[in-house]
Amino acid sequence: MSEYWNPVLETLPPNRTRALQFAKFRSTVEWVYAKSRLYRRKFDEAGFHPSQLKSFDDIRKVPLLTKDDYRCQGVDPFPYGDTLCVPLEDVTVFHQTSGTTGTPVYQPDTWADWEWFSECWATVMWAQGFRPSDRLFLPFGYNIFIAYWAGHYAAEKIGCEVVPGGVLGTTERLMKMKELKATAFMATPTYVLGMAETARSELNSDPREWGIKKILCAGEPGALIPSTKKRMQDTWGCPVMDHVGATEVGAWSFECTHEPGGLHVLESMFLVELLALDSDEVIEKPGVPGRIVITSFDRLAQPCVRFDTKDVSMWSERECGCGRTWRILEGGVHGRVDHITKVKGVLFSPVAVEEVVRSFDELTGEFEIIVEKDGDLDRIRLRLEMPPDIEGEAQDELCARLLSNLRWKTQLNFELKREIFGTLPRYALKAKRFLDRRKEAVK
């Protein structure tokens, strides 16, 4: 059996991938222009018509889509409004975004779209070594957030045995995983570490002895932050690989078993562009940070065309040992554009703090960053959970080393607040660790 889900597409020469992408992009644009009131309006206002697409460079003429554009939802055909591209009776499933960045977006899918979504996931999971011999446990709530739904169906498609772990609490999920000798599971990095903590504290058990052979992480950055990845791998005793997708977009990228330090883009199903942080200039050069803009091909009910995810990454120049010709985003998603901000005049990304905090094995790894104003000056505080077994001078020395490392990494001096073990929140899905209160002050 091939090591690639689709060996033709995954090893296609880059120029042929590009030609395929252009053909699919053009079809998608023609589709949304004909079917969606939102896209017709946007394109007309921008003076763009699909017939203007003659070459790959013409893609830049297509206006960007943002989350604000989805405000046209909520009218007829209810609830999708102007974004819907198919008859409402063809929609077979509803999901919505988590709303962490604002009003949730409603996402409809037809059955064909849902099969497409699981096809993307199957490509991801096959690349991460999931096989029919895997008993995959899903510690997931199975609700209106899309999360691991398509992962469930993709795993079935691959031939895995799927154990749905919804509704159960963390301890019950862990007991079931152990009882059934699960070989793999999926979760956010926060929950991967949280589950391990619960296994040790509630079950008095070392997860490394459970026989988990692989973990797929999705939902938030972490699996490509070296210290977080190492912490997860050491805790569970197995490879941990990243996958990045989005409700509005699909399952668009993955880390393969070769763990090349970045994410392969699923280039047969998506067009991923990087645009400059402060303009719409397209970035092709490796090593230059840009915001990720994505077009999904072949998703009919509500495709996204040049959707600005507001996530940040950069192209890699390395080639992966897996043999895939799909491009790699170096380091995965580095964070959100709106989280990358200036503090005391210095460019700051919260991911840098996670990298430092999680490099200290003595720490629990739970933290929170708060940026606020003190008069006209910025103030940056770090709430850091202390380990229960380190006190006094040993704790002082640990904190001094941490602050020194943080200063080196970020060029910033943090005010440290030590928190008692267990007092910072534990999250089952995405963690909220960065609070910029300066914006609230302005409001």
């Binding site: 042929r16 395929l20 053909a23 070459s55 497409w116 072949d298």
Partner: protein, 65 residues
């Protein structure tokens, strides 16, 4: 994968399957057990179709327009 012939054969098989399913959907119209399942199978087949695009058969697949 042994080359374009194999892709061509795959695409021909997909096309035949699609044609058979369209016929099933038509003949099953009004009988939910037939019609609904045929629609579902067509949706699943779509996942195969998007994996094997006609451009893959072109010798010089570099055309952008």
């Amino acid at each position: 994968m042994s080359g374009e012939n194999r892709i061509r054969e795959l695409m021909e098989s997909i096309a035949k399957a699609k044609s058979a399913l369209e016929e099933l959907k038509t003949k099953g119209a009004g009988i939910p057990a037939a019609e609904k399942n045929a629609i579902r199978l067509l949706g699943t087949l779509n996942a195969l179709e998007v994996q094997f695009h006609p451009l893959l058969l072109e010798e010089d697949g570099t055309k952008e327009g």
